[in-house]
Symmetry: C2
Subunit: 336 residues, 2 copies
């Protein structure tokens, strides 16, 4: 019997699905193959307080410099758990496959997903596969859900920022969005950009161990740092003031944004987060972040103030002040 090279509709149920599971999916996602035939995974509860989150991934192209849809699907859910102070432990993986998809590609991206899980101690517990007819999906959509155990002592919420707090970012911004855009549109001027896509659980754990007083963590995905800061400002009923010269923007992002008329603050990241914490702990937090590979470019980019006219404002390089807005939404579709 020849191997499966392309997804067929018959892989959507019955023995075709079993064959896909046995030959392609289980070896890469579930190397020990336990419980492949059960309806749900059963395990001991990992803690007193749990965090639970989900994300669908529809990124185009499916592979890009620095990552692919599989790495993104693992990191996205791991990071959402980490942002609530939870150590990610259990992951579900649901696939929607378009008829005709090359299984070589599928194995590559699921291999990336599995690698991130192995490296972060996350166990893939359950999954599902659906196949739709050619033209009814775009290659591959991945939906992950994750369960994590919330660290003791930690209380994080977008609503906890207070006037006087410091606002930090964990590294240079905008790389994921510009990388995906460049890969999609063949933009040579941004071809050196590499996605920041990375799992943030370890660096967050380091930060929370050192600075458990941290009040807000948010990874700056769709809508970028601008969207996240606006959400924090609204939830906490405060104004956030940024200092433009302190915001770490890589040259490739800067260049692409000027050419395309984009604001780096509005471009998506997949391995950067914003932290709001008491100003007195800002230097300690920066030191801890910079010790980690993923926090090399960490910076203190602003402060929280009493609620003013705008949720987020920025002191610009040319000495003015402008409002920083959540992007309207259509800038970069299907970035994750």
């Amino acid at each position: 019997m020849p191997g499966i090279t392309r997804i067929q509709l018959s892989h959507g149920s019955g023995s075709g699905q079993q064959r896909l599971l046995r030959e392609i999916l289980a070896p890469v996602l579930l190397p020990d193959r336990q419980g492949v035939y059960e309806d749900a995974a059963v395990f001991a509860s990992p803690g007193k307080r749990l965090a639970f989150t989900t994300d669908s991934f529809v990124v185009q192209p499916l592979e890009f410099p620095g990552g692919d849809i599989g790495k993104l699907a693992a990191c996205g859910t791991i990071n959402d758990l980490a942002m609530m102070g939870a150590m990610p432990l259990h992951l579900s993986v649901a696939l929607i496959l378009e008829e005709g998809l090359e299984t070589g590609l599928l194995v590559r991206v699921l291999g990336s997903l599995a690698r991130v899980c192995r490296e972060t101690g996350v166990v893939i517990r359950c999954g599902d596969t659906k196949v739709v007819e050619r033209g009814k999906a775009d290659g591959l959509f991945v939906t992950t859900a994750g369960i994590g155990a919330v660290l003791p002592r930690v209380r994080l919420s977008a609503a906890y920022a207070r006037p006087g707090d410091a606002v930090l970012v964990s590294g240079p911004i905008g790389l994921h969005g510009i990388t995906v855009l460049a890969a999609r549109k063949n933009l040579s001027f941004a071809s050196r950009a590499v996605s920041d896509c990375a799992p943030l659980a370890e660096i967050v754990r380091g930060l929370l161990d050192a600075v458990p007083e941290t009040r807000v963590l948010r990874d700056a995905t769709r809508g970028g740092v601008a969207a996240v800061l606006n959400e924090i400002a609204e939830s906490s009923e405060v104004t956030i003031r940024l200092i433009q010269e302190r915001i770490p923007v890589p040259e490739s992002v800067e260049g692409a944004c000027s050419l395309l008329g984009l604001d780096p603050l509005q471009v998506a990241n997949e391995g950067r987060f914003v932290a709001v914490l008491p100003a007195g702990r800002a230097e300690a937090a920066l030191a801890v972040l910079r010790e980690h590979e993923l926090g090399q470019g960490a910076a203190r980019i602003g402060a929280v103030e009493e609620q003013g006219r705008f949720p987020v404002i920025m002191e610009t390089l040319i000495g003015g002040t402008r409002s920083v807005e959540t992007p309207p939404g259509e800038l970069l579709p299907r970035i994750c």
Copy 2:
């Protein structure tokens, strides 16, 4: 500002996404709107042993007699948890929306999803929304993941069937598959069929309270009763013998299957399950199932034997014996 009547690409991120969430999704899915801006839900662990499962739903058409993609997405995950003896408690909902989708339809199907959750005590904890361009998805795909607390004393697995056990089915089979097929193809001869789509947590709890010795529970979704029994037989290394005259097949299913050349055993259900339990407890189990609205047609359809030549065999109405096979897979694509 006029209401949102159709999904646009701009609803995929930034302020467009926030508006979609605020105006359409949160009112129907999260009426108390708590934590809409957090990256993950945080809650106390619901028990010592957890069950975790996920399913994507790509059914066509999105609405059909007896249900819709939303009801299916809630029931599918609730039922997978119930089959492991877990009471479903927490649900995630991830949506992939095609540009141009009518929000009226979206609100209807998410209303169904929310209704099933309310009726079964399941809390929608977290969600995600992605929008893809027209022609890159088929209206709406829904992925749910669920967390449940496993009942004490219960130990269920597809691998626990033993020779001598009784095999039960909770009601008439094949209705979901035939209903969806009839709705899709406008088959007038099957137009009276109504999907069996229903949440099974309550009837399962009743069964497990009365017969905690139950060894296997499986809802007979894709591939029908035939696929599920084959999986149980393989996992448990036994043969399952069915008695055809005891299998409850509704007239509408029987008729449609003869005309279409389908085997009712291979047709999908979304509210029926198979139970394997000690023969001495079969009558007690049937009595409990039949007390419940969803178990009116429960029947003892066969028995477990030592492993023979075929995983599943059936004594037919005409006095012969035939092997019952897992369907090859392409019979009824996109049934759930």
